[in-house]
């Protein structure tokens, strides 16, 4: 039972830390969660999961002082960091109750109280003085004793620290703090016992209110950032970015209207955009055979020069055959192509923004809903739970139905696989971390297409749409290759061709583990009687068409000497990268400047 309670506390702790410090990447900079059994003086005893500290020395002279540091230093990306210490016992009578709470850098002598040495800072209970790297204290606050809760807050934006007593702020104690300080507590009296709260329990002081103030300050700073001489160009620049984004994703009608109403030239032939749109539509509706054919027709040398791309398209085609959506199997008696599974012309339509009412007013004028919608999903890669579940259908969007018509179940554990397959350790359901991941991907994989990044985010959406999908899958029964024997034979045959193509490729161009895995995964579908609910069933999801679609799109654009990633996605990625750089270099303000806050 106590294990259960412990787990519960652990969960509370993780939740609270994530809420308080959303910008911290704990893989890089873990947060302090307890005192370190390794980083303490021998007179210190730890118990209760290394949260309780007691003194076990003689306590006769300052030479008997003993301190302990937390397991990790405070990450700058916290912006504002806070922990509390409750005095459980002030120690045996007849002693002066030396006791210090504060911060110290790694390596500072632990046979001392916090504050006495260089890079060490403390607030002492016996006299209420603050010690700033010095053996002499300054009058600071009230004294503290048994029952009091003392809090220590580090502001990593202006590098100051203040303490609290029983929930009341005592004002700034230290300024110009160095980076990478550890929470530290020091005792010097037999019988002294203190408990730390690194987020295991709600804090007595309202630290979130303090954080709110700093978030507002930082955001005001950003809002008021001087733009300089090029001020007048903002609008033009944003319009350019939007236009290029529309063109990139081949929203040709929208792009045309947008360009016209903003007086811009489109840097690509309209016909070319339409071509790309046509191909994308085919890929996204699962009609891979036609897509490949059309590509070969319109861009004759493209696939010839990119055999890996062709291979990838073909593997997808195989998967679509299993799915029963590829044109080659469809005409052999699969489902009617148009009525059910047309994946309409938008690459991603996972969200129907809640903010639509307001956003459409801003963007809509004379352009139409389509833009609004896509602008929106572009601009809000992270989302609340509210975002999904088809609000858009109420607005009469034709776009919103594709998810529903894709028969599949996606039990949530599978999502882990989905994310895991991309080599990330994402926590399913943890929206905040996902967002962060999404952005860091946007940069680290800057060579790949922007669309790829979307997929991890997309996963969340799927999970949240679970309810809807299960209903759907009950409605239409899934069958291999749409249930036609001829189609199955064609699929098998196609699989053989694919196998030989793979062998050919290997001979020509050497081993390619990505290709190998791709093929293996695709073939694995056949190992299950119901591929849709198999561990590899995620491949059948229509979302998996998107990376294929965007890779193809980028390849086409590249041959036209157009950027393979739209500038808008690049800008968002750069901003995100800038923030993670700030976190690494100790600029705490990154905590309150989430890119998401500006994408709405």
């Amino acid at each position: 039972r106590s294990d259960l309670a412990l787990n519960e506390q652990e969960k509370d702790l993780n939740q609270r830390l994530r809420r308080l410090y959303p910008a911290v990447n704990e893989e890089e900079t873990p947060l302090p969660r307890s005192w370190s059994p390794k980083d303490k003086f021998s007179y210190i005893g730890l118990s209760q999961n290394n949260l309780r500290v007691h003194y076990k020395g003689h306590g006769k002279t300052p030479k008997d002082a003993a301190s302990v540091r937390a397991t990790h230093p405070i990450p700058a990306a916290c912006g504002v960091y806070y922990f509390e210490v409750k005095i459980i016992s002030k120690g045996r009578d007849g002693y002066v109750k030396y006791m210090g709470i504060g911060l110290s850098a790694q390596g500072v002598n632990m046979n001392r109280l916090p504050g006495w040495d260089k890079h060490s800072y403390g607030y002492h209970g016996d006299d209420g003085h603050s010690f700033c790297s010095s053996g002499t204290g300054q009058p600071y606050g009230p004294t503290f004793t048994t029952g009091d809760v003392i809090g220590c807050c580090v502001n990593l934006i202006n590098n100051t620290c203040f303490y609290t007593k029983n929930g009341h702020s005592l004002g700034i104690a230290f300024t110009d703090l160095p980076p990478n300080l550890y929470p530290t507590v020091g005792l010097q009296t037999p019988g002294e016992v203190v408990d730390a709260n690194f987020g295991q329990h709600p804090f007595v002081f309202d630290i979130e209110d303090y954080m709110r103030e700093w978030r507002t300050k930082i955001q005001a700073q950003i809002d008021r950032f001087p733009i300089g001489e090029r001020e007048g160009e903002w609008q033009a620049m944003i319009q350019k970015m939007v236009a290029s984004y529309l063109v990139h994703h081949s929203y040709c009608a929208t792009a045309e209207v947008f360009a016209k109403s903003t007086d811009q030239a489109v840097h690509e032939e309209l016909a070319s955009i339409k071509n790309r749109q046509k191909i994308q539509k085919l890929v996204l509706s699962g009609r891979m055979g036609e897509a490949i054919e059309t590509t070969q027709q319109l861009y004759p040398s493209l696939l010839e020069l990119n055999p890996d791309l062709l291979f990838m398209l073909k593997v997808r085609q195989f998967i679509e055959m299993v799915n029963g959506t590829d044109s080659e199997v469809r005409c052999l008696g699969g489902r009617s192509p148009k009525s059910q599974d047309s994946y309409p012309g938008s690459p991603r339509l996972f969200n129907s923004p809640v903010h639509k009412a307001s956003s459409s007013q801003t963007y809509q004028t004379g352009i139409g809903d389509v833009i609004t919608d896509h602008l929106h999903f572009l601009l809000s890669p992270g989302f609340d739970s509210n975002y999904c579940n088809g609000v858009s259908s109420s607005k009469g969007h034709t776009l919103a139905h594709s998810h529903k018509s894709c028969p599949r179940t996606m039990p949530s554990p599978e999502l882990g696989v989905l994310n895991g397959s991309r080599g990330q350790q994402t926590n399913v359901g943890a929206e905040v971390e996902m967002e962060v991941d999404h952005f860091s991907n946007g940069v680290s994989e800057s060579s790949s297409n922007g669309f790829l990044n979307g997929s991890s985010t997309h996963g969340i959406d799927l999970e949240e749409c679970d309810g809807d999908m299960e209903v759907d899958s009950a409605q239409s029964k899934r069958q291999l290759c749409g249930g036609s024997q001829a189609a199955i034979e064609r699929m098998i045959q196609f699989g053989r061709e694919l196998q030989s193509m793979s062998e050919h490729l290997r001979r020509e161009r050497g081993k390619n583990s990505a290709n190998k895995k791709m093929l293996k995964d695709a073939f694995s579908l056949l190992a299950y009687s119901d591929p849709w609910i198999s561990p590899v069933g995620y491949q059948l999801d229509s979302i998996r068409r998107e990376p294929v679609c965007s890779t193809l799109n980028s390849a086409i654009l590249e041959t036209h000497n157009l950027p393979k990633q739209p500038p808008l996605a690049l800008a968002v990625g750069q901003a995100a990268q800038c923030l993670s750089l700030m976190a690494r270099t100790g600029s705490g303000s990154c905590a309150f400047a989430s890119v998401d806050d500006y994408l709405h």
Binding site: G141, H168, L170, G171, I172, D209, E213
Partner: protein, 631 residues
Amino acid sequence: MKNAVIGNNKQKANLIVLGAVPRLLYLLQQSSSSLELRTECAVVLGSLAMGTENNIKSLVDCHIIPALLQGLLCSDLIFIEACLRCLRTVFISPVTPVQLLYTDPTVIPHLMSLLSRSRHTKEYITQIFAHCCKTPEHQTVLFNHSAIQNIAPLLISPSDKVRMQALKCFSVLAYENTQVSMTLVNVLVDGEQLSQVFVRMMQRDKPIEMQLTAAKCLTYMCRAGAIRTDDNCIILKTLPCLVRMCSKERLLEERVEGAETLAYLMEPDVELQRIASFTDHLVSMLADYFKYPSSVSAITDIKRLDHDLKHAHELRQAAFKLYASLGSNDEDIRKKITETENMMDRIVSGLSESSIKVRLAAVRCLHSLSRSVQQLRTSFHDHAVWKPLMKLLQNAPDEVLVMASSTLCNLLLEFSPSKEPILDSGVIELLCSLTQSDSPALRVNGIWALMNMAFQADQKVKVEIVRALGTEQLFRLLSDPDTNVLMKTLGLLRNLLSTRPHIDQIMSSHGKQIMQAVTLILEGEHSIEVKEQTLCILANIADGNTAKELIMTNDDMLQKIKYYMGHSNVKLQLAATFCISNLIWNEEDGSQERQDKLKDMGFVDILHKLTQASDPNLCDRAKTAMQQYLA
């Protein structure tokens, strides 16, 4: 016209001079005018009102208010909004008498009924209420017309302006108003308690004005007794919010309001004072209030200097008020305040500032600090605060005099080293004149100070007091309608009648009157405390050598003492017994005769009975007295 006057004060003035206002009002009031025309008239008038204060005066002189109020009876919302907008502009001007809103009793209920019509009606009407609620009567009128129920839902309006004006309404409604405050605590807004709504409005990311006004609302509710001072919403939210308002980051106006509100909040509660004293370095933060205009502002720009100068007085008086409130109970806090940089010097110069507000606040602060024995002995003496204080007492308005004389009372305490120099400065005459004031508070302070002065004083001082006060005034004070005055006068008498030579000396010259006064009080309808004090005076008289006889020869008085020895109140029994004990004390001349006489009068029986009393003090006192007979 509308386009001509927008943003052009000169044009506005021109139009007014040319007589446009009566004409516009005429058109506005004609029911035959089209709605569009009437609306345009209201808009133009609203624009004229946006000009100078003189414009407003002209408009009010043309009876614009009743005309616009009349217009509100129209059913057209656009027209109503135009009228309200103009009314709002007129009413928020300081030159408009707010009373005009209340002249017609149908206006307030009508405004209440219009309140929820639109976002604009909400904003304008709440803004009018917030500005026009200045007296308890106004509060009552608004309260009786369901202002609370009507305005509460607006606190969660999507419009920032509406929320802000609604909040302001509550702060003016709740100020020193128990009825409103008590009602407010039970109001729910969308299922949430109003106090919690206010707490949310104090969050640090909200506009400062909103935080400050919400803190005021909670402060007023707390002072009215509707919220306990130890409630978390006060102790963990309102108080820290107000301390934040005092910080250097805030505007000068906000700092003034923040400090004044905080002073008011914690005035009666020592725990709040203690918490505030260590919150965010408040005590040293306030020291900064005295640094305006700063030397930097004078150099950098003239506009800033002007701004600083304008607020300098306000800042100083607010800081003094807050220091006064902080230090009113706790000795440690007083020490902390006096140790703040140049604190005593600042008070001393504050006492002689030209602004009466600053002088008053400075003397309040001094008064608060003067409750400290240690400060009286040290910093008060070192800085000779008595000097500016005495100067202040010469010619000041009553409110300053009350504070100053009250402070003087503390400075005249026996252990205060300032007592001597104050005595030498001719303070007795001044205090005696205070006892003749019409203000009970001043009379109390005057006589109180004299009482303190007479405590263990030299014969010379006592004689001087009696001379300066005059027996006539002394006896007038003994029949003062104010109990406090009476008590302090009795206290003065008691202090005068201490040590035997003094007793005999005073009784020989004023014995008759004093005995008369004592008789009068003992026979009158007075509280136990007053009678006890009087019996103590009698006991002091009984301690004199010659003065004793004044009692012994007064059988009526002896009967009274006897009566009080058998009284149901132990304190009176004790005092009366003390008196008898003094009369029969052995070692003095004539003690035998006095013992005999009192025995004959039956006092021994009473004393005997009292030796059985349940109260140990009384029992001891009676036993001691009985021993006088046995010896």
